[in-house]
């Protein structure tokens, strides 16, 4: 992962943070049936605050397979599975400073 690249939230590790660049899968990336599912998922992610421009930070990872993850989205915390988080593309920001002093 490059320092200022982009990453899928579903692949992110604890402590990684950034700004949401895109929510949703590119058309044609999935078959027809999944597209209905994905459109619904996209709206649900948007409704709970995963919207382009929101700041995100991975706070916690689950015990088995590091799944699900707990994410800070602006001022709230949301738990979701990595599978769902994969739909969110994040523009990476530098990881937080050592003493947790970096501005949020």
């Amino acid at each position: 992962m490059t320092t200022h690249g982009q990453f899928r939230l579903g692949q992110a590790r604890r402590g990684q943070r950034g700004i949401i660049a895109a929510v949703g899968r590119s058309p044609g990336a999935t078959n027809g049936r999944d597209e209905v599912f994905d459109v619904e998922l996209e709206r649900r992610l948007l409704e709970i605050g995963f919207v382009e421009g929101a700041r995100v930070e991975v706070l916690h990872e689950g015990f088995l397979g590091r799944d699900p993850i707990a994410v800070k989205v602006d001022s709230m915390r949301v738990a979701l599975r990595r599978h769902e988080a994969d739909m969110i593309l994040v523009r990476e920001a530098p990881a937080q400073g050592p003493a947790g002093t970096a501005p949020r």
Binding site: L41, E47, I48, G62, F63, L64, D74, R104
Partner: protein
């Protein structure tokens, strides 16, 4: 200032509280209505419907409705559908509120601002309450209220639901708005697509930028607590410890009140037997009602303690964390983190458990959770378990530390949980294949639980249980007494009188079916009312042996130990792990799924599992010489 309220002549004005989950809406509802609340269900669905009465400073009587929390009006779960339909007046026109009170968490405004904009399509007058204003101030968040109000075009007030006088401004504003309330317009709400949701977010964002300034100083207690409670290793260990403590408390704390209740009923039965003349009425009162109902009411303390913990953890904000920790584990069976809370409640009683599944949006996952909820060992099974364990399992230490009785109890709980997972897996992989529902759930900030709110909740659960005991259980007890008393034996007949009664006849008739699982006819008789409510089986056994004349003042456990082989006792325990559930559970499942198919399927599969489990247990015990 005394304005005559015209609408009051027709009906009280109705105001509805709407907001995102975890915005403190229920706390505000409690603050507004005090003790004047009633909890009922919406017709057709078992979504809890909370209504309360409120008298404003100007003397207006209002009806306050607490609607389930939601992030949008799209209505994906039964809960959210209720919110949408009430707001849009789709349930029925009379129920439609006259005014919407939108409740926002002042520390997290954005999502609610979007919902407020979406709700303007409902055509109802609105008011925005910035709840938890004290926390926002403490965190240095400043909100330009006149600016926000002007931008949204609706009044905006601050409130602190948990503080005395914290709702004064809201009440004053309600009075002001209600003096000159414009009537509701027709709704013109349309479901937003993804692009529109994005646009609304941007509009909300721009409002936050212009009207909210945050100092950014955040002590972040929630983050610190989460660092421990959501830690991959420590978090799981703490969750297990919490569950362990909870069940420990259910068993140990409840002992004293349970003994008192049992002693009270014994005293009552003894006294009545002493002062009343021997006869049918005395028999009905003592053998039927007091013995039977008493054996069930004994479990009230356990049920209330379990609910105390569940409500406490819920209010603290821990339940969402438990769902996070458990998601992967119960996800293996095709379930969902959100299934955890309903399943946990089912340890107290499957009825609130089944009702709590309404937060699961996906129908299949919801049904799978409903179908396995009765496999969690509910407190109604405890009477059966404790009775038989105390009678047949010696109080012995195993490996020096474990109590053998405790181990058997643990094994029974474990058997229920393991079989629930297997059944869920079978359902999800063979009956309904397909994508699992996404797990997306807000982790609310931790809050100090309000003792009063917790106790009110516990009390409400207790009342529900008592009402059940007073209706279903009482009538079953009278029926059992009747069946086991009539017809009276012919003069000079040999053997106990109950042998000649209806109960004896029914018991003898179905006993051959149950012989392979080691049940005698007394058990067969007790199983019939046991279908109505599991715990009734104990009362029924007590009644059968009391009317049969075997009791002679001895404890039921002692009688059973003298009459049953060990194999029969173990087989009955196995039966009750799966026992065909109580009628009330089936009725709730019928109402929740709106179909007879699921309760029938539940009944059949559980009966089959119970028979197979008992058969295997009894046959193995017989082989080992305990038949």
């Amino acid at each position: 200032m005394n304005v005559i309220d015209q609408t009051a002549l027709v009906r009280n004005a109705r105001i509805a509280l709407v907001g995102n989950p975890n915005c403190g809406k229920t706390a505000l509802f409690n603050a507004l209505t005090g003790s004047q609340q009633k909890v009922a269900n919406y017709p057709g669905v078992t979504v809890e419907r909370k209504e309360g009465a409120l008298r404003t400073p100007a003397g207006r009587h209002l009806t306050v409705i607490d609607l389930p929390g939601t992030y949008s009006l799209r209505g994906r779960s039964p809960d959210e559908i209720v919110t949408r339909d009430v707001i849009l007046g789709r349930t029925n026109a009379v129920e439609r509120p006259d005014l919407l009170v939108c409740v926002a968490d002042a520390t997290n405004l954005r999502l609610m601002l979007r919902l407020v904009m979406e709700m303007s399509g409902a055509g109802l007058p609105m008011l925005l309450v910035l709840n938890m204003a004290d926390i926002a101030r403490y965190r240095g968040i400043r909100i330009d209220i006149p600016g926000l109000s002007h931008e949204l075009g609706i009044p905006v007030v601050e409130a602190v639901a948990v503080e005395h006088g914290g709702t004064d401004r809201l009440l004053a504003e309600l009075d002001r708005m209600l003096t000159d309330l414009r009537p509701a317009r027709r709704e013109h709400w349309l479901e937003q697509n993804a692009a529109e949701v994005r646009d609304a977010h941007h509009a909300a964002d721009s409002m936050v930028v212009r009207f909210v300034s945050a100092a950014g100083e955040d002590r972040d207690w929630t983050g610190r607590i989460d660092a421990v409670l959501l830690h991959p290793v420590a978090g799981i260990a703490i969750l297990l410890a919490v569950l362990f403590l909870m069940f420990q408390a259910v068993f140990s704390w409840a002992t004293v009140p349970m003994d008192l209740i049992a002693a009270g009923f014994d005293w009552l039965a003894g006294t009545l037997r002493a002062i009343l003349p021997d006869g049918l009425l005395t028999s009905l009162l003592v053998d039927g009602i007091i013995t039977g109902v008493g054996s069930v009411l004994v479990f009230l303390p356990q049920i209330m303690i379990l609910f105390f913990f569940i409500i406490l953890l819920e209010d603290f904000g821990y339940m969402a964390r438990a769902a996070f920790l458990m998601d992967k584990i119960i996800g293996g069976a095709g379930l969902h983190g959100r299934s955890f809370i309903p399943l946990l409640s089912s340890f107290a009683c499957a009825i609130p458990g089944v009702m709590a599944t309404r937060v699961i949006e996906n129908r299949r996952q919801r049904l799978a959770t409903i179908m396995i909820a009765p496999l969690m060992t509910c407190s109604a099974r405890l009477p059966v378990y404790t009775l038989i364990i105390a009678a047949f399992i010696p109080a012995r230490k195993v490996a020096g530390v474990f109590d053998l009785r405790g181990l058997v109890m643990f094994a029974l709980y474990a058997a229920g949980i393991v079989s629930a997972f297997v059944v869920a897996w079978v359902f999800r992989h063979w009956v309904w294949r397909g994508k699992s529902e996404p797990f997306i759930m807000e982790l609310p900030g931790y809050k100090r639980p309000m003792l009063r709110a917790v106790l009110t909740g516990v009390l409400q659960r207790g009342v529900i249980f008592l009402r059940r005991a007073g209706t279903i259980i009482l009538s079953m007890m009278i029926l059992i007494w009747f069946l086991s008393t009539f017809p009276a034996p012919p003069a000079g007949a040999a053997g106990p009188a109950i042998d000649h009664s209806f109960a004896g006849l029914i018991g003898h008739a179905i006993q051959p079916l149950l012989a392979p699982v080691g049940f005698n006819w007394e058990i067969a008789v007790a199983l019939i009312p046991g279908l109505a409510a599991r715990e009734v089986a104990v009362g029924a056994l007590a009644t059968v042996y009391a009317v049969g004349g075997d009791a002679g003042g001895e404890a039921l456990g002692t009688i059973l130990a003298g009459h049953w082989p060990l194999g029969t006792a173990l087989s009955l325990l196995a039966w009750y792990v799966f026992a065909p559930q109580c009628v009330s559970t089936l009725a709730v499942v019928r109402r929740e799924t709106n179909s007879w198919r699921w309760p029938v399927m539940m009944f059949v599969y559980m009966l089959a599992l119970a028979y197979v489990a008992s058969f295997v247990t009894y046959q193995l015990a017989s082989l080992a010489g305990y038949g």
